[in-house]
Every structure is written in structure tokens, then in C-alpha cells.
Symmetry: C2
Subunit: 211 residues, 2 copies
């Protein structure tokens, strides 16, 4: 089935959550689920879920619901899962080191294969099995190819320069933890994480509830 | 002005981004901005921005645009910023330690005041100026009051029990980094971060572009 490039951004943002829940349901042996049941689990509405699934060809049957295996596989296909991805990390500070040690990448076929930093305090250190390389070796490393995604975890003032360096070296996907929105050319994909945004959403809800 | 409890979830999720950009604009001395200019900066559409701002009473003037100071202050008010928040951390593993050392909390008035863990490897260790306490001291610590938010950064299998313990001790806001959705009673606010969700969004875009 053709992948729709035009899937609405809001639906795209909900795909990872659907994938998580469907993987859990399959693991627990649940073979089918109604939009109502899934809505209750996920804190969404059933009509939202049906509309989302319709938008990418996930079709349930009246009175039967959705086949969890099929739906999980369809979403995994949309996400491009099912193959292995190589990531490099630029910036092995606190966040970077936590990412290297993060246990849940491998479950999705994601592997951090190298890390780079400028600081003599971390270069040559072994962090979770990866020896941090000096940033000067980055371009030569990327010249070998085979890297799918670069994680940017450097301080904000050098984040855009780091991104430019990576893009010049052929990287086309950036997962950015620096607290700035990176500017990239149209052929490059970027997600800017902004760790504190979700905390501000929590603050909003606390504040709204107090009024 | 009255805070609207009913602000659409999609608008709420965009508030932190608006706040970031408006703070930057104010810092750089930009006194006013049109929805078109802001849309270009943020990668949104001008009509989206006008609709969002209308929903919480941010009113621009025809041919003048938005006053950046006023708009920033209005959004800060919605988010409940402008006061100090005390956070505790439960789970001082890799992610937890990176959060303790994360430099950008203080800019928003957020302060991690204590950390708790079960592991003898980290209890009593000084991490970024905070001495990790044994989890057994958590309830007594919370009995003193004054904690606004608990960060949950424990392994997934113990995350719900940890949340229950925190809620029983009076915590009403949880910022959760364990890769599970926490179940909480209606009076408790929770944001489940799911670190890998944004990476899956990046994978989707890479995959969609390849087709």
C-alpha cells in the first residue's frame, strides 16, 4: 500500500503511541480491539482513533474491531521500522551520555554506533561501551556512509554549526536535543525535542486546574 | 483575564514553542511581529497562529501585528510561570542524573530540590549538588509539603508503583520518563514523556520521503 506523505502532522505525532499500545496488546495476547477499548486505554476518543486509522488504511470490521497484529504491522510499516538504523551522537554531555545508555533503542532496531565531542574531559572515555571520539574525526567517519541519523546533544550556541557540519557531511536526519530549533535545507529531516516543552504542558494543566 | 480550561490540547502543546520564540524575540529587541513573520520563523501557518492566539485572547492589530512583550506575558500567565516550582526526582539513573544536571530548568523558575533512589550505587552520591536519598525517606520528605512536581525516572516495571507512592504522599503532578503511560486519579496531572516518540516521528518522515 502506498505511504501517504500527506498524513496530517497530528496523526503522525500519535503514531508512536499507537505503535506502543499495539505492541503491548500483541505481547499480552490480545488479538483484536475495538476503537472504544483502545480509546479508553489511551485517553483518546473512539472517533479520533477511527479517523486516524482510516487516514492510513487501518480498517476495522463492524462488531469485530481491529486486528492488533495487522494494525501494529501497518503502523510499523508507516514508521519504516523492521530494519536496523545506525545513529551517531554529537555531544557526549549529560543528555548525550544518558542517551548512549538508554536501554530502549535496541527494541526498535536503533543503534548508537559512535559518539563525538570536543571536550578533553569526555573524548577517549568509554561510555556504555562506546569510546567517544574527537569531533575532528566526525567528517571522516561519515565519509564511510552507513549512518542514518545524527543525534545533536551539544550546547545551544554551537548547535546550528554542528548541524551544518553534519549536513555538509551527508547526514539527512537530525534528532536535536539542543534547546534551539535547527534550520535545515528541505532535503534534511529534523525533530527538535525541547525537553522542557512537556513540562510546560504539565504546568499549564496544573495552572488551569487551580483557577 | 480568565484562564480557559478548555483550550484545545493541540493549542496547549504549541504554547511552550510560542513562549520560547517570544522570549527570544523580546530578548533580541523585537517589539512587534506579524502572524506571517512568526509563522515563517516557527514553520507554522499564519492562520494557525492567529487562530491559536485568538483562542486565549492574544489580539493583534491590523497592520501592526502582535506586541511581543504582551503576548509573551499572556502565554507565561497561561503556563503559570512567574513563580518558583520545586521538583523532586525519583530514580537517579542515567536519565535522572542528566535531568539533575540539565541547565535550563532554572530559567523557567524550576528547581530540583531532592532526589531519591533504591540503588546503593547512587544513594548518598552527590549528583550535580544534590545528595541522592534512599527511597525510604520519600514519604517523610513529602510530608513537609512544598513540592510541586515529581519527576518519575525509574524503570518501567516499577513506574506505576512509584507513581502510586507519590500520589499517596500528596503529589498531584507527575513528569514521567518511564516508558509506560501512568494511570492516575482525576485530581492528578501527568505528562508521559516517551523519549523515543519524537525519534519515531523522524523515522516516519524519513520513510515517507523515500517513497
Amino acid at each position: 500500500m502506498q505511504i501517504k506523505k500527506s498524513l496530517p502532522e497530528a496523526v503522525v505525532r500519535r503514531l508512536p503511541g499507537y505503535h506502543r499500545y499495539l505492541c503491548d496488546l500483541c505481547r499480552l495476547g490480545t488479538r483484536r480491539i475495538s476503537s472504544q477499548e483502545l480509546a479508553k486505554l489511551m485517553g483518546l476518543t473512539a472517533s479520533q482513533i477511527r479517523q486516524d486509522f482510516n487516514s492510513f488504511g487501518g480498517v476495522g470490521q463492524q462488531g469485530y474491531g481491529y486486528n492488533t497484529d495487522e494494525l501494529r504491522d501497518r503502523i510499523a510499516e508507516l514508521l519504516g521500522l523492521g530494519r536496523s538504523f545506525s545513529l551517531i551522537l554529537v555531544g557526549a554531555g549529560n543528555i548525550g551520555q544518558a542517551l548512549i545508555k538508554y536501554a530502549h533503542f535496541a527494541e526498535l532496531g536503533l543503534h548508537i554506533v559512535a559518539a563525538f565531542d570536543t571536550s578533553p574531559r569526555v573524548v577517549e572515555q568509554n561510555i556504555g561501551g562506546i569510546v567517544v571520539k574527537p569531533i575532528e574525526e566526525l567528517t571522516a567517519h561519515l565519509a564511510h556512509g552507513g549512518v542514518d541519523i545524527a543525534i545533536v546533544a551539544v550546547p545551544a550556541p554551537v548547535a546550528q554549526d554542528t548541524a551544518n557540519l553534519l549536513i555538509d557531511a551527508g547526514i539527512t536526519a537530525l534528532w536535536n536535543f539542543a534547546p534551539v530549533d535547527l534550520q535545515v535545507p528541505p532535503h534534511v529531516h529534523v525533530v527538535n525535542v525541547h525537553m522542557l516543552d512537556s513540562l510546560l504542558v504539565l504546568l499549564f494543566r496544573m495552572n488551569a486546574a487551580e483557577k
